[in-house]
């Protein structure tokens, strides 16, 4: 589970202007903590993650109607990506395959990573899993999922009477 934010929700909800220096600082701090915990494999999925294993970076954006999820998956084939949607989470699974055409390779730099990955993205609002759309282009996976409008309206407004 991610250490989502160090600041209370009240502040986080207003981050529409992400260019503001304060929010970029906040994001840097959040990234620092997220990566710290990922780095030490505190997260359960970290048990399987060895050194140099591939983990995609993910951005999640939302508005009233939908969620927009972007994941960086350079060099992954679309057939190797598996996106599963439940009513409140999205799972991106896949494998980044290492090319194995030449056997006698002498490496000078090895900064890229390979391997299989699986990330579960929990979402706050209920989503319409049937209407999710996913596109993959130039190594970036784009997922669009509408929020369930009915679930939002479930709460009934109670009128208050003055006596």
């Amino acid at each position: 589970m991610k250490v989502k934010s160090l600041l209370p929700d009240v502040v986080r909800k207003t981050t529409t202007d992400i260019d503001h220096p304060f929010y970029s600082l906040q994001r840097e701090m959040n990234n620092l903590f997220d990566n710290f915990f990922r780095g030490f494999s505190v997260a359960p999925r970290g048990f399987a993650a060895g050194i140099g294993e591939f983990t995609p970076s993910i951005d999640v954006k939302e508005n009233d109607k939908e969620y927009l999820i972007k994941a960086e998956l350079p060099g992954v084939e679309e057939k190797d990506i598996d996106v599963t949607v439940t009513s409140d989470s999205v799972t991106i699974k896949g494998e980044k395959k290492e090319e194995k055409e030449d056997k006698d390779k002498n490496y000078y730099y090895m900064e890229r990573s390979y391997g299989s990955f699986s990330r579960v993205i929990p979402l706050d609002a209920e989503i319409e899993s049937g209407k999710a759309e996913a596109r993959f282009k130039n190594g970036i996976l784009d997922i669009k999922i509408p929020k369930n409008q009915k679930a939002k309206e479930k709460g009934t407004k109670v009128s208050i009477k003055t006596s």
Binding site: I58, G75, N106
Partner: protein, 130 residues
């Protein structure tokens, strides 16, 4: 896994930038076979039109431009990466046959094939029985 492995590292270049976006250093693999050197760079978001490979004297520069993926009227739930350009330079040795460099882009990965010049290719010398 350190955070360096997971995140794109930002290039704090000395040259002044025209575009108001961040520049990242793409992560690369470089390996050598008997015939050629291969350079593979992860640059998510680029395609064959937005990537540039320049060779000047012995400096090879790869750069990629990514259009700002900013979407209006959305608020950020969480963010692990930032959108920006890519740039990295390498110094080539004279052993590379400059005329035959090939570049391909697939799914955000740039792949360069730098064939070795004839003179440095390993040769096997046939031995004749006298």
């Amino acid at each position: 896994m350190s955070d360096k492995d997971l995140q794109k590292s930002e290039n704090t270049a000395v040259t002044e930038k025209i575009r108001n976006v961040k520049t990242f250093i793409p992560r690369v693999d470089i390996y050598e076979t008997g015939e050629a050197l291969f350079l593979i760079a992860d640059m998510p978001g680029i395609d064959e039109k937005t990537v540039d490979v320049e060779l000047e004297k012995n400096i090879l520069k790869i750069s990629g431009r990514v259009e700002n993926g900013k979407v209006k009227d959305y608020s950020l739930v969480f963010s692990e990466y930032e959108v920006g350009d890519y740039e990295r330079t390498f110094t080539l040795s004279d052993e590379i046959d400059r005329e035959k460099i090939k570049a391909t882009v697939k799914q955000g990965v740039l792949r360069l094939e730098l064939p070795k010049a004839e003179k440095v290719k390993p040769k096997k010398i046939a031995i004749n029985a006298a």
